[in-house]
């Protein structure tokens, strides 16, 4: 079908999806909660009489007073195990199940949105949220850190000292690592979201999985399983703070997350493309 008449507008759904996501109060509440972490941390450290000694508290906390940029890095370390994945669980678990429980899923499908297209758009918007979430922690961390501690030189784990520009690059890398960590979880959430019509149930299931995976990661008896857990590399960004940068764990994590996206993306497709939509 040549000519303008048959022109399609496939991107409109993604634009609409992002608009719906970022116009929900829930999304902004979650981002605000994430932003409060670096702010709280920086204020507490600033107000305490003694600066934290080396190795005290969360990783890199002792660096915060030297270089405000490290507030961002420390905040990412703090939010990665629980807070950040919780918000990703809400968005990804709600992706399909939320539409089903509202009843809007049937109207999107007869529009027709196309089942595969809808799934891809939902995952893309979850990815956008992962970016926004870690970006929020990073940006607030930078801002509050620079405001309270200024931007001086900082010492890396390898003992080298870096300037402000390098510190920005390093914290950006950590942010990228954390974002990539969430991509596998978002794919798992999308799959779980296709299994049920109850959005809250899907969100809770994804959150529980996150915790279970981290508990399993603590059990030495299951060492053989650890490299396959999507949480395995979540806190493995120390190598990004050495001079020179060691990329091994960053790349291993990226590969693992890609595998999770492929596997659970395929499961979600298999489930959703044949599902009877009765909600």
């Amino acid at each position: 079908m040549p000519g303008e008449k048959s022109r399609t507008h496939g991107g409109a759904l993604l634009v609409s999806e992002l608009r719906v996501l970022f116009r929900r109060r829930r999304t902004w509440a979650m981002l605000a909660a994430l932003a409060s972490i670096p702010v709280l941390m920086a204020v507490v450290v600033r107000l305490s009489a003694e600066p934290p000694g080396p190795g005290e508290g969360p990783p890199f906390l002792d660096q915060v007073t030297n270089n405000g940029m490290f507030v961002a890095v420390t905040a990412l370390v703090l939010t990665t195990p629980l807070f950040l994945p919780l918000t990703v669980a809400v968005v990804s678990g709600d992706a399909i199940a939320g539409e089903a429980s509202l009843g809007t899923l049937r109207y999107l499908l007869v529009a027709p949105a196309g089942r595969v297209r809808l799934l891809v758009v939902k995952y893309a918007s979850a990815v956008a949220f992962c970016l926004a979430a870690s970006g929020t922690v990073l940006l607030t961390g930078w801002a509050i850190g620079a405001a309270l501690f200024g931007t001086g030189e900082a010492t890396l784990l390898s003992g080298d000292t870096i300037g402000v520009g390098d510190a920005v690059v390093r914290s950006l890398l950590v942010g990228a690592h954390v974002t990539i960590c969430m991509l596998g979880l978002a794919a798992v959430g999308l799959f779980i979201s296709t299994l049920t019509d109850a959005g809250v149930g899907a969100m809770a299931a994804v959150a529980v999985l996150t915790i279970v995976a981290q508990v399993l990661g603590q059990l030495d008896q299951l060492a053989w399983l650890h490299p396959w857990l999507f949480t395995h590399h979540w806190l493995a960004f120390a190598d990004l703070l050495r001079e020179p940068i060691v990329w091994t764990s960053f790349m291993q994590n990226a590969l693992l997350q890609a595998a999770y996206v492929a596997f659970f993306g395929a499961l979600a497709y298999g489930r959703f493309s044949t599902k009877d939509v009765l909600s």
Binding site: H9, G10, R24, T104, Y107, V110, P112, D276
Partner: protein
């Protein structure tokens, strides 16, 4: 209308076909048979009433036809396209209201429509705002366009759902219980909306358990009962397959029966109509009337001539309701 030109060409090619056509359509949920081998034939241009008590399989049928659920067996075509293979081509030409309206409560009415329009990749974003405004206007919601959907009343939501079905020019409109939750005024508005849509040449497939509604607006109807299609055809056909009955109210019941039988009618005493005065000691006598029987006025004359005191005389045309009740059973017994 240039945007719909390709659709119009397709219509010409398939104009002799049916808008909806199913053959042996069956849907089972586990052991339970929700839809049992139905053969629907909805002619293009018809206003087609899809009747049946609650739980008779109407909504399930609609879900299967629109590709939301897969048929267990059987085949179907919508606007000449096979389901589910051809749905991507058929669905942009179909507007639907399925089992009640559903919206994002945190978006305004207009934004909800924009969202659904964006989901249809054939809908032109350049004309989106205009089409949304026109659809809202058509269902009388222009004043509430910016109001959040959570603040809409049930009737307003129902209208917003119909507006969503009218976002682009459609060849087929599928409306599942469109007057649910509407007040009498709203019900009338929906009826006139359906008439105006049908007048533009759109086929309307409307499911309902309200007979009066269907009888007023439909040209064709099908009746579902416990998952099976028990009757289908034009409204005249459906009514016509019932029997015309003459009914005599008289104090002389036995005389009336004898006289009617003498005229060749299969008369029988029935319970007198309620309120017609059991205290007045009247009897009611009914007899089915067919084409070669005497004219009703001759029957009255014969009765009177024979000394039967006639207090009342009726010729009852079969109504769709009689037909419906005969086929699906009386009362509030929900199927299954």
């Amino acid at each position: 209308m240039s945007a719909t030109a390709p659709a119009a060409e397709q219509t010409e090619a398939t104009s002799t076909e049916l808008a909806i056509e199913t053959s042996g359509l069956t849907k089972k949920f586990g052991q339970q048979v929700a839809v049992n081998g139905i053969d629907l034939a909805v002619p293009r241009g018809a206003v087609f009433g899809f009747l049946g008590p609650n739980g008779s399989g109407k909504t399930t049928t609609i879900r299967v036809i629109l590709g939301l659920a897969a048929a267990t067996s059987g085949s179907m075509r919508v606007l000449g396209r096979g389901v589910p293979a051809g749905l991507d081509d058929a669905l942009p030409r179909v507007g639907a209201l399925i089992e009640g309206p559903a919206f994002y409560p945190f978006l305004s009415g207009a934004d909800n429509l924009r969202r659904l329009d964006a989901a249809d990749r054939h809908a032109n974003p350049a004309t989106r705002d205009d089409r949304v405004a026109a659809a809202l206007d058509r269902v009388g919601l222009a004043h509430a366009a910016r109001k959040k959907a959570r603040a809409y009343s049930l009737g307003m939501k129902q209208r917003l759902g119909i507006a969503a079905a009218l976002l682009t020019p459609r060849e087929l409109l599928v409306l599942d219980e469109p007057t649910n939750g509407l007040d009498p005024q709203g019900t009338r508005e929906v009826r006139s909306l359906i008439r105006s849509v049908a007048a533009e040449g759109t086929t309307v497939f409307v499911s309902s358990h309200l007979l009066a509604e269907v009888e007023q607006i439909c040209t064709h109807a099908a009746i579902m009962s416990v998952g099976s299609l028990v009757a289908q055809g034009s409204l005249a056909d459906l009514r016509g397959s019932g029997q015309t009955v003459v009914r005599v109210t008289t104090p002389d019941g036995e005389g009336a029966v004898a006289q009617l039988r003498h005229l060749g009618l299969d008369a029988a005493s029935v319970a007198p109509p309620r309120g017609a005065g059991r205290d007045l000691d009247v009897a009611a006598v009914e007899a089915p009337l067919s084409g070669d029987d005497p004219a009703p006025e001759d029957i009255v004359a014969a009765l009177v001539a024979a000394g039967v005191r006639v207090r009342g005389f009726d010729v009852e045309q079969p109504s769709l309701e009689d037909r419906f009740v005969a086929l699906t059973g009386e009362g509030f017994d929900v199927a299954r």
